[in-house]
Symmetry: none
Subunit: 138 residues, 2 copies
DNA sequence: CATAAGGTTAAAGTAAACTTGAAGGTCAAT
DNA sequence: ATTGACCTTCAAGTTTACTTTAACCTTATG
């Protein structure tokens, strides 16, 4: 298929598809006699893998190391490990969020229970300050 | 505290902390007589919130709309609102994380459950078709 | 007093992931 | 044969999120 059809099938802009080729991420492409790009149906699969990989937090650089040019060459184990690592990261973050949520809820309950108090605001500030969602390195 | 201490406490580069101030994301800062930035302890909390917000998939732009501008100026009424807002923020983060996680899990499950004689390429296609995610817009 | 360590600014540079623009070639239909 | 849709390349522009650089000021220490 030509790039326009691939674009419609995947919902990705043609510029994006050409860009992925430029950076060596999408290698499943030949040229027709007129110079037009021609894609096998597999290309659609690869593009979906790329999009979903990005949604799951992978950079294009990571993806180009993970995805093979040929799907039958898929580095199965490598991909599995990478996916499991991302999943672990997310689960850790969910835990922290749940903790923070629980703390916030208890603060809210306290404040709503005794509206006149002056200490409650200070207390709230204290708890908020302790809301260590872990050391935030990126 | 001065910027160096805040940097050490949070693990964030001083350039990053100044940058967050530049774009109006970190407003918890005064100036000493010598011109040095001076931060209240709450600044550490806010920076952790920012880092973790980013990890949860928020852009700095989204975060500057979500985060309270001044933790130290919170009054009782505002505190309640801020807490409720924060709770809503966290729930939003949880949704994003759940989204990411669902994405990853569906990929993982399908790859792990790879039926015996199925070729990698075919399996990959099956994975994609079952992701139901359709067209990868971001 | 000298010097290092740490603070200040403004501006420029970087990297990722694209998009846009210009100038043009190809193809199907009227 | 001309229009319009679709294709090409290459370069330059954009956005986000920072870092680096340069020149300079302030504070602590030997």
């Amino acid at each position: 298929m030509k790039i326009g059809e691939l674009s419609k099938r995947t919902g990705l802009a043609t510029s994006k598809i050409r860009f992925y080729e430029d950076i060596g991420l999408l290698k499943l492409v030949k040229r027709a006699d007129n110079g037009y790009r021609t894609y096998p149906p597999e290309a659609e699969t690869v593009l979906h893998l790329i999009s979903n990989g990005q949604k799951a937090g992978f950079s294009l650089d990571e993806l180009s190391k993970l995805l093979p040019s040929d799907l039958s060459d898929w580095k199965h184990d490598q991909l599995l490990n990478a996916l499991r690592q991302k999943l672990a990261d997310i689960e850790l973050m969910e835990k922290k969020l749940a903790d923070n949520k629980r703390q916030l809820n208890s603060i809210l309950n306290d404040i709503e229970a005794k509206p006149g108090g002056m200490a409650c605001a200070d207390n709230a500030k204290r708890v908020i300050s302790q809301m260590g969602m872990g050391k935030g390195r990126r």
